[in-house]
């Protein structure tokens, strides 16, 4: 193993869980990033006007987190990525299309779905985890690992 950071992982994870718990307790919503962003892009949402402000606020909070950290000296996140821009664009399309089609991503299905013990979300999480593991195995090690 390299770069294994279980303590900061647990602490950061706990904050993610706290955010999901608070969003439900305060606004009654599931903290699923796909659903929150996707709801803004949906042309036929019935509750559009009353609904948009909390979604924009949550997204603004996500983007503000590293900006506030930068005020205290943390570098802005500019992650190194090995994939070419074409592959990154394809990946982005697949992530956007797939998460909307499957009604959720790592936060909605993975964190909130597991926390609710939702069979749907647990199945979805195992499927996208497996698909991702297989994809990485093919990209990094060639077909067949």
């Amino acid at each position: 193993m390299h770069d294994f950071t279980p303590l900061s992982g647990l602490a950061g994870g706990a904050l993610i869980g706290l955010a999901a718990a608070l969003l439900m307790l305060l606004t009654g919503r599931i903290a699923g990033v796909t659903g929150i962003v996707g709801g803004l892009l949906q042309p036929d949402t019935a509750d559009r006007t009353s609904d948009h402000s909390w979604r924009i606020a949550f997204i603004a909070g996500l983007i503000a987190a590293p900006l506030i950290a930068a005020l205290f000296g943390a570098p802005l996140p500019r992650p190194a990525m090995n994939a070419s821009l074409v592959v990154i664009a394809i990946a982005g399309l697949l992530v956007g299309f797939g998460t909307r089609m499957g009604n959720g991503c790592t936060s909605g299905h993975g964190v909130c779905g597991f926390a609710r013990l939702s069979g749907r979300s647990i199945v979805a999480t195992f499927i996208f985890m497996t698909a991702a593991v297989v994809t990485v195995a093919i990209v990094r090690h060639g077909i067949g690992g």
Binding site: G17, I30, P79, I88, G92, C105, S121, F128
Partner: protein, 159 residues
């Protein structure tokens, strides 16, 4: 109040992603790479997040309404249908290619690096494309016989 609460939740969520290291695609791919130098951190992130979220949800279940809204919008579906499976497969492939999922993509947007901007634009295009075409195609093929369409109910989404 709801706006401020939602902003604070996004802020805490983003801080959690940063502290856990999950905004770094190398750490995410390190977890997904079972056949390489495996980095188990993501499992600890999930464990911490699920434990705290489940505790908070248990408190919420005992209440009649959230603090700043009329009602709790719990997802109410438990069927496992083809879009769930197909969407999860497509998402997983994209996640494995780049090591980025929607939450970390938005947090990383603050750094305005070219790969992240490309990823987020493509992701939004994918979401819009699915909204415009995916559901219609699907509905025409498999959901047309159903009399009741509940698509506009917000609680229908899982996340």
């Amino acid at each position: 109040m709801r706006f401020l609460a939602s902003f604070l939740c996004g802020l805490i969520f983003g801080a959690g992603l940063l502290i856990s290291g999950m905004t770094d695609p190398r750490k995410v791919l390190g977890f997904l790479d079972l056949f390489g130098a495996w980095d188990a951190t993501l499992a600890f992130v999930m464990a911490g997040a699920v434990a705290v979220a489940a505790s908070g949800f248990a408190i919420a279940r005992r209440r009649t309404a959230p603090a700043f809204s009329a009602r709790f919008l719990w997802p109410d579906r438990n069927d496992i249908d083809a879009p769930l499976v197909g969407g999860a497969i497509l998402f997983g492939i994209g996640w494995g290619l780049a090591g980025i999922c929607p939450g970390p993509a938005l947090v990383n947007l603050a750094g305005l690096s070219l790969p992240i901007v490309v990823f987020v634009v493509a992701m939004l295009a994918g979401m819009i494309g699915q909204n415009l075409f995916g559901k219609n195609l699907w509905r025409r093929r498999t959901m047309a016989p159903r009399g009741v369409d509940t698509a506009s109910l917000p609680s229908r989404a899982d996340g």
